[in-house]
C-alpha cells in the first residue's frame, strides 16, 4: 500500500508570511498532484509534477518534486487570506495501475 504523509497537519499564519508544506512517502510515484480544497467544495487541481527534481511555479506558489520522486513540497510566498484551505497531495504510480493515493492534507489558515 502506498501512503502519503503530509505535514504539518495544521498551519496558522499571518498574512504576508511565507510557508512550506510537505508530502512524503517511502514509495516512488510516476506523478504527483497538488490540490486545494475549500470547506464544502471539491478539490481543485493546482499542479502536476512528473520529473524528479522538477520545480513548477504558479504565481506565489512553488512546487518541487523530490529527485527520487518520493516526496514533494509546496512553498507559498507572502500568503494571503485567499490561500486559506486544505492542501492535498496525491501520487500515482504505474506499479499500482495508476491509482491515485491521497494524503490527509494540510489545513492552512491565513489571518488578515
Amino acid at each position: 500500500t502506498q501512503l502519503l504523509e503530509q505535514s504539518p497537519q495544521f498551519l496558522s499564519i499571518q498574512e504576508g508570511e511565507n510557508l512550506t508544506v510537505y508530502c512524503n512517502s517511502s514509495s516512488v510515484f510516476s506523478s504527483l498532484q497538488w490540490y486545494r480544497q475549500e470547506p464544502g467544495e471539491g478539490p481543485v487541481l493546482l499542479v502536476t509534477v512528473v520529473t524528479g527534481g522538477e520545480v513548477k511555479k504558479l504565481k506565489r506558489l512553488t512546487f518541487q518534486f523530490g529527485d527520487a520522486r518520493k516526496d514533494s513540497s509546496l512553498h507559498i510566498t507572502a500568503a494571503q487570506p485567499g490561500d486559506t484551505g486544505l492542501y492535498l497531495c496525491a501520487g500515482s504510480s504505474w506499479t499500482n495501475a495508476g491509482k491515485s493515493t491521497f494524503g490527509d492534507g494540510t489545513t492552512l489558515t491565513v489571518k488578515p
Binding site: 498532484q33 467544495e41 500515482s92 491515485s100 492534507g105
Partner: protein, 114 residues
C-alpha cells in the same frame, strides 16, 4: 470552463434508508472516480470506471454500496441501507486519460445519516 456536475449537494437521510448520488463528468473524459472523504482526511477511492467498465472497486463496501455507469457517461452511486458511519462527503472526479494523473472534481455531496 467544463466542470464535473454532482447532485444533490446535500443529503440528510435516516439510517437503513436508501440514498443515491449522481455525477456527470466533463465531456470526453473516459475515466470516472467516486471518492469518500471523511472530515479531516483525504479522499478515499471507492470505485473507478473506464468508460462503462469498473476498473477498481476494491474499497467499495459491496454489501451496501453499488455504482454504475451504464452508457459510459454519467454515473450513479447508491447506498442501501445507509449506516451512521456513511456520513461523509462523496466526491466524483473525472480524467481524460486513465491512470489518475490529473483529476477534476465535482463539488461533492455532503451526506448526513441520522
Amino acid at each position: 470552463e467544463a466542470e464535473v456536475a454532482q447532485s444533490p449537494r446535500y443529503k440528510i437521510t435516516e439510517k437503513s434508508q436508501a440514498v443515491a448520488f449522481w455525477c456527470d463528468p466533463i465531456s470526453g473524459h473516459a475515466t470516472l472516480y467516486w471518492y469518500r472523504q471523511i472530515l479531516g482526511q483525504g479522499p478515499e477511492l471507492l470505485v473507478q470506471f473506464q468508460d462503462e467498465s469498473v476498473v477498481d472497486d476494491s474499497q467499495l463496501p459491496k454489501d451496501r454500496f453499488s455504482a454504475e455507469r451504464l452508457k459510459g457517461v454519467d454515473s450513479t452511486l447508491k447506498i442501501q441501507p445507509a449506516e451512521l458511519g456513511d456520513s461523509a462527503m462523496y466526491l466524483c472526479a473525472s480524467s481524460q486519460t486513465p491512470g489518475g494523473y490529473e483529476q477534476y472534481f465535482g463539488p461533492g455531496t455532503r451526506l448526513t445519516v441520522t
